[in-house]
């Protein structure tokens, strides 16, 4: 893969040279090889996009440098209801990012043990503790009603958003 990338960078000046000569028909285009962009973040011009550690590592590092976001047994071999679990996880993530609006600083980790769901995330300390307790109770109550099982929130808080930033790109 690296080999191909190097080749393309070397080919480019040649293509530009062709273009400058006005010989457009000599340029051959094809589908771009090795172009993967899912789960990755683009570099900005000013290099000021903050990334957490999770965001800084592309998906092929899952299980090596970073871990999974959903911990359940439904994706294992011969396991039951994989699609339902995935949909529920998506719903939980959406609900929490919406309820804790602009407060969630990290990925939302969903851990399922027996019939219990434990949800972990890092929250910014932007609202008062009283509101935070209300939101915790509200989220647990509604989610456990929808999922029909006990839901526990295991949130941690940080004082500032910059505390979770791993690097800027």
């Amino acid at each position: 893969m690296n080999f191909l990338k190097k080749v393309t960078t070397q080919v480019l000046p040649m293509a530009e040279a062709h273009l400058s000569l006005g010989n457009n028909s000599a340029l051959h285009t094809s589908a771009v090889c090795c172009r993967v962009q899912s789960g990755r973040y683009r570099i900005t011009v000013k290099r000021d996009r903050p990334l957490t550690y999770e965001m800084a590592n592309p998906p092929h590092f899952i299980g090596h440098r970073k871990s999974w976001n959903s911990w359940n047994t439904s994706t294992l071999k011969d396991a039951l209801r994989p699609s339902q679990t995935a949909i529920e996880d998506v719903f939980i993530r959406k609900f929490i990012t919406g309820t804790w609006h602009a407060l969630v600083c990290s990925e939302i980790i969903i851990k399922r043990q027996h019939n219990m769901i434990r949800i972990a995330a890092i929250i910014r300390q932007a609202i008062s503790a009283r509101k935070m307790y209300f939101l915790i109770g509200y989220t647990e109550e509604l989610l456990s009603y929808w999922m029909q099982c006990p839901v526990t929130l295991e949130f941690q808080t940080v004082a500032d958003k910059k505390d979770v930033v791993f690097k800027y790109i």
């Binding site: 359940n72 994706t75 294992l76 399922r112 027996h114």
Partner: protein, 166 residues
Amino acid sequence: MLQVLKSLRLTQPTRFASALSSTATNIPSGSADVSAVDSGEPDKLYSKLEIELRGIDPAVLRSYTWFATTAAEHLGIELGKCWSPRKAHHERMTLLKSVHIYKKHRVQYEIRTHFRYMNFHKLTGSTLDTFLEYIERNLPEGVALQAAKTELQQLPAHLQQPPEQV
């Protein structure tokens, strides 16, 4: 078979008693009723408890195996073979990398399932229930556990006596 049963019966009560006394401190509430119930019928005997673990993370499985075997050691349960196959099971999906065309360019996603097996030998019914519940309650997330028990039974009555006429 019968002789095996007899020798087991002889050796069991002492181990059974020691196991119960040590579980009283280890086990949280919920399994206390195991020691409280004293029914007249004799306890069942199991020659083997085989536990199969499946998980996505081999490190978690290793750590959990360590936990379960250490618990078994403390309870005085005889430990059998603990092993895992060297390679995980890979379930692969090959998709087009692009949304629409470009059939030559594919992307592969895979889900790995790691396996791990544990064997415990010569347990009584109550020890097995207590131990199994203890390790089941401490099962980490993302790990599936399957338990297979092998029960020892008396020879059926029609096989104990030789037939009168052949």
